[in-house]
Symmetry: C2
Subunit: 209 residues, 2 copies
Amino acid sequence: MEEPQGLRARKKQRTRAALIDAAYRLFDSRGYSDTTVNQIAAAAEVSPATFFNHFASKEDVIFADGGVLLEEISQRLESLAAGRNPVEALADAVRATTADAGTRAPGGELEAIRIRLITTEPALQAPTLRRTFDSQHGIAAALHRAYAATLGHREAEVLVGAVVGAIFAAVHSASRAGEPLDRALDDTLDILTRTWRPAARRGTRESAR
Amino acid sequence: MEEPQGLRARKKQRTRAALIDAAYRLFDSRGYSDTTVNQIAAAAEVSPATFFNHFASKEDVIFADGGVLLEEISQRLESLAAGRNPVEALADAVRATTADAGTRAPGGELEAIRIRLITTEPALQAPTLRRTFDSQHGIAAALHRAYAATLGHREAEVLVGAVVGAIFAAVHSASRAGEPLDRALDDTLDILTRTWRPAARRGTRESAR
DNA sequence: TCTAAATTTAGAGTCACTCTAACTTTAGAG
DNA sequence: CTCTAAAGTTAGAGTGACTCTAAATTTAGA
């Protein structure tokens, strides 16, 4: 897992790690908006220019090593598809992924800060939505692959969009109400699996020409 | 509809209209990102400071008179609730609202530009998502009101989130594929109403205490 | 040891956005 | 009609994210 790269690459990773660490530390104490990129660079003891050498934007530092969840869900989908309807499989994949994302050792400390940040900082709401939205295509593609026989391309997109949209809505409203997020997630997945029916298909082709 | 306000208010509306007009014109020709607020102000023949006097941000010009759709959908929900399940009512409300939003006379010219901008300009994706997401609460509240007897608070949030998320996913994928958006919307609403079942409720209270 | 590529850096510049203090115009009282 | 208060507009300075260019430093590999 740890390729013994050259000295060059190792140094680069070290400054990158220093930047991430400094950023999370500052975001945690002063808040996201009140932390400046210059402060992060100073705390990491590099020049401000170096920050943008590693991250495309200030937010990027927070989502830097994200996108892993997307791949995890997509992968799980394939093994969970058997015998379940798409929504059940999706729900299980989400459950499984979030379950061990919470207990994952490396970066677990930062993970807690991240969740707090993206659920509370207003300035991060839009970026979070955007990135999640972008990752939907990948999941939809995986779902379509796993249910190629019964699930059209558009139906897969719609389904994933619905599940993700529902989760976001529930998590956000729970967050505002001060309720625990994991419970909101469970409730949501329950509701979705309970109220979804595998589709009385009208035609077999839905991207008719 | 047009309160004959004082000269003061009329002048203010005129500069506001000039700003909106200039902004759309410039966005349309040079693109959103390549248009600067200074250029908009110059085109409207006001100072740059005045722009921010009317709009909180550059994007704000585009969404300025939006938010109307939200209220429309919420209102329609109440009259459409009878005899339908929640998803059917929601779908009908969306259909009805988008139907006459397309044919609404005033600003119809700008409306076309707006749709093109928010579906193609990458810089507007995040703001669009954010605003839509924010408006969900209002719709969810209206839905909960219309189905107070059978639909819990959380279920309403989940449902609206699912419908909105599905629509967004479909519209976005259609937009990337170059397919007509209205057709994607119709397909999506069809899929949703066909695959949703009114819920075999487990308990009557889902925000158990 | 020398050269080429990768990292970092300084520095100047753009743009969105904020804040403050002034300036102009309208509204309404007397 | 006049005078004052408020609303609207403006100039100007400043902050912070982000870009670009060119130079400095460091490592890789011949």
